[in-house]
Amino acid sequence: MAEESTTTADSVATDGKAGTPRALPEAEVCVGLLETMGLIRRFEEEAGRQYQRAKAGGFLHLAIGEEATIVGTVSAMRESDYLIGTYRTHGHAIARGTDPRNVMAELFGREDGTSRGRGGSMHIFDAERRFMGGYGIVGGNLPIAAGLALASDYRGNEDVTVCMFGDGASNTGNFGETMNLAALWSLPVVFLLENNLYGMGTAVERHSAVTDFSKKAEGLGVSGVRVDGMDVLAMRETVAEHIRIAREERRPTMVEAFTYRYRGHSAADPEVYRSKEEVEEWRKKDPIEMFAGRLQSEGVLSDSDREQMHERIEKRVLEAVEFADASPEPPLDSLYENLYVIGGQVRGWYAVDERTPTTHPGEAEREFGKEEEIHRLAEAGAAYAGQAAPTGRRPDRTTEDREAAKALPDEEEHEVEGP
């Protein structure tokens, strides 16, 4: 069923306006778009660096190369609209206006992080800016997006939900279920498929029988278009139109952004599934360079303007790192905070393991459950976070490995006794 190979930069289909370059919006809009893309790019490069320094842990999924898709989309949204994404959403939050300092602090797992260190890179959230999260489960955000849109529909207000997800997510059960529900109920949502040609290490032709994703959505009742995700103006214009359809015509649509990630799927992906040449080819149509070039050639942006922009960006990103570094780690006794809304129903944690700050009343009688002991043990556990450099580290391996290595007890302790 797969159509023509879609893994080359020039084979990109568009929304029809290819070639004919769009007229530029007002200067400061253009500059704003460029600066936001640049900020996200630089932020993520730095995040990668900090990750290598083990300042950030877990997985790190960078969207470097996809900035036009992110910024073009978000620039077409109102503040009151909802945005929801995946585990690759540092840029999405920043584009929505979240302070890079708080995003970096989340990567560092600190008090001032967007989720106070609970969520990490995969689970960024900013209620104030209606960035409804970062989700680690592929496809998990689709039904939630339908629910957000349902709320707007239920209240009869103008808020539109934009749901961003990947090509690989189109194979999850949630995709079919959610497209059908959104179409059946005419929900005001725009499904923005970030087609970066791979689901982890699997190329679109190898994971989806139909690789023209707007066709895939159409069969389920949601019409769509494909647009050049490397062209920030094309993204902005196309998404604006589809948001209008959601807001005014009250029906869901899909926009397939044809884009590319330069980096590996996560921080230490050896990238055996694609060639250096392919990556190079895509870098030639870099969304930031291309747009900056045009702004400069059309006189919207002078060399010194760009210079200053670089400096502003550099400053903000370095400030973000400093800020994150200075932010305290979450206190251990905050472990159970926000697990439940405490009230008439839930008057305590009712947890029974001995690390519970507020143990079940009944526990009181257990010598063992005494407060000091609880805190001593919490500290003892947390101390393992300070472990020395991992043994058996394999730089050519995936993140998972490196983390695994870190978490390993040392050699000797591994000689398991027994029969």
Binding site: T178, N180, G344, E363
Partner: protein, 324 residues
């Protein structure tokens, strides 16, 4: 009990515009078990919504709507199908308030009829209280009487936490006193002592709360054993205090559940009791559980796989061995 649940839904929908109901065949069909009968007529299609057969997405849409401030009451036609929605329930509904540090709340209720006794066979007779009791972030209710069903459902709808609301299919037809009106709200985390006793404590949930009571009567009449019967009403939070207090008095306990034995509700409560009242126990806490098999269809086989008063009596007597 059916009417009690329906009244709870209707009352809360009248009180609060943000409350709505969605699920498979809840509207036009009036609900597979008729719990939502009449709601479509009163509240219309906007607030009583038939959904496609898409369990994970129905629950996920509930999560999203709840994050946006509505109070969805999702009906999964039976608990068996909730396995298709486990990802949205565990990885999303339960985790979201915590992982986003309270920036988002999920005031959603997911109703799940379940249990055996109807000869519905291996795919339609599960009891999954034990699955959901494990999950931090969820509240879990398992009412056994019409009054509790109404009061707990109203409390669940008003609560800001995601709630798994278990209903036993064989109790829908049950009759019983139900306090009228709005203020009949039953708090979570408070066990009900259904019968006072001094020799052994019997803890039972859902349909098994009734089997426990029958067993208590048999124990009194045929064995002159005085059993105290406790219905936890909710498993998360669990009112362990009331249970432990009773066991400290009776020194013996039997926990009855319909679900599977390994890692079940009984195993959890027995362990908690033993941890908290070890020195007060004269015998190990006995469990009476469903058989460790997918529920068979044949009527006698099915009944032999479900706990009955005889089993509870037998277990209670086991805790009293030697003493009487």
């Amino acid at each position: 009990m059916r009417e009690a649940l329906r009244d709870a839904l209707a009352e809360e929908m009248r009180n609060d515009e943000s409350v709505f109901v969605m699920g498979e065949d809840v509207a036009v069909f009036q609900g597979a078990f008729k719990v939502t009968e009449g709601l479509l007529d009163e509240f219309g299609e906007r607030r009583v919504r038939d959904t496609p057969i898409s369990e994970n997405t129905i629950v996920g849409a509930g999560v999203g709507a709840a994050m946006a401030g509505l109070r969805p009451v999702v009906e999964l036609m039976t608990v068996n199908f909730s396995l298709l929605a486990m990802d949205q329930i565990v990885n999303h509904a339960a985790a979201i308030p915590y992982m986003f540090n309270g920036q988002a709340r999920v005031p959603m209720v997911v109703r799940m009829p379940g249990g055996g006794g109807h000869q519905l066979g291996p795919t339609h007779s599960h009891s999954f209280e034990a699955l959901y009791q494990q999950v931090p972030g969820l509240l879990v209710a398992c009412p056994s009487t019409p009054a509790d069903a109404k009061g707990l459902l109203k409390a669940a709808i008003r609560d800001d936490n995601p709630v798994i609301f278990m209903e036993h299919e064989t109790l829908y037809g049950m009759r019983g006193e139900v306090p009228e009106g709005d203020d009949h709200v039953v708090d979570f985390g408070r066990a009900a002592i259904r019968r006072q006793g001094s020799d052994v404590t019997i803890v039972g949930i859902l349909r098994m709360a009734h089997e426990a009571l029958k067993a208590a009567k048999a124990l009194a009449n045929e064995h002159s054993v005085s059993a105290e019967v406790i219905d936890p009403c909710t498993l998360r939070p669990l009112d362990l205090d009331t249970i432990v207090e009773s066991v400290r008095k009776t020194n013996r306990c039997v926990v009855v559940e319909e679900g599977w034995p390994h890692g079940g509700v009984g195993a959890n409560i027995a362990t908690l009791i033993t941890e908290q009242a070890f020195d007060h126990l004269d015998a190990p806490v006995q469990r009476v559980t469903g058989a460790d098999v997918p529920m068979p269809y044949a009527k006698r086989l099915e009944q032999s796989a479900i706990p009955h008063p005889e089993h509870v009596v037998s277990a209670a007597l086991a805790t009293l061995e030697g003493t009487k």
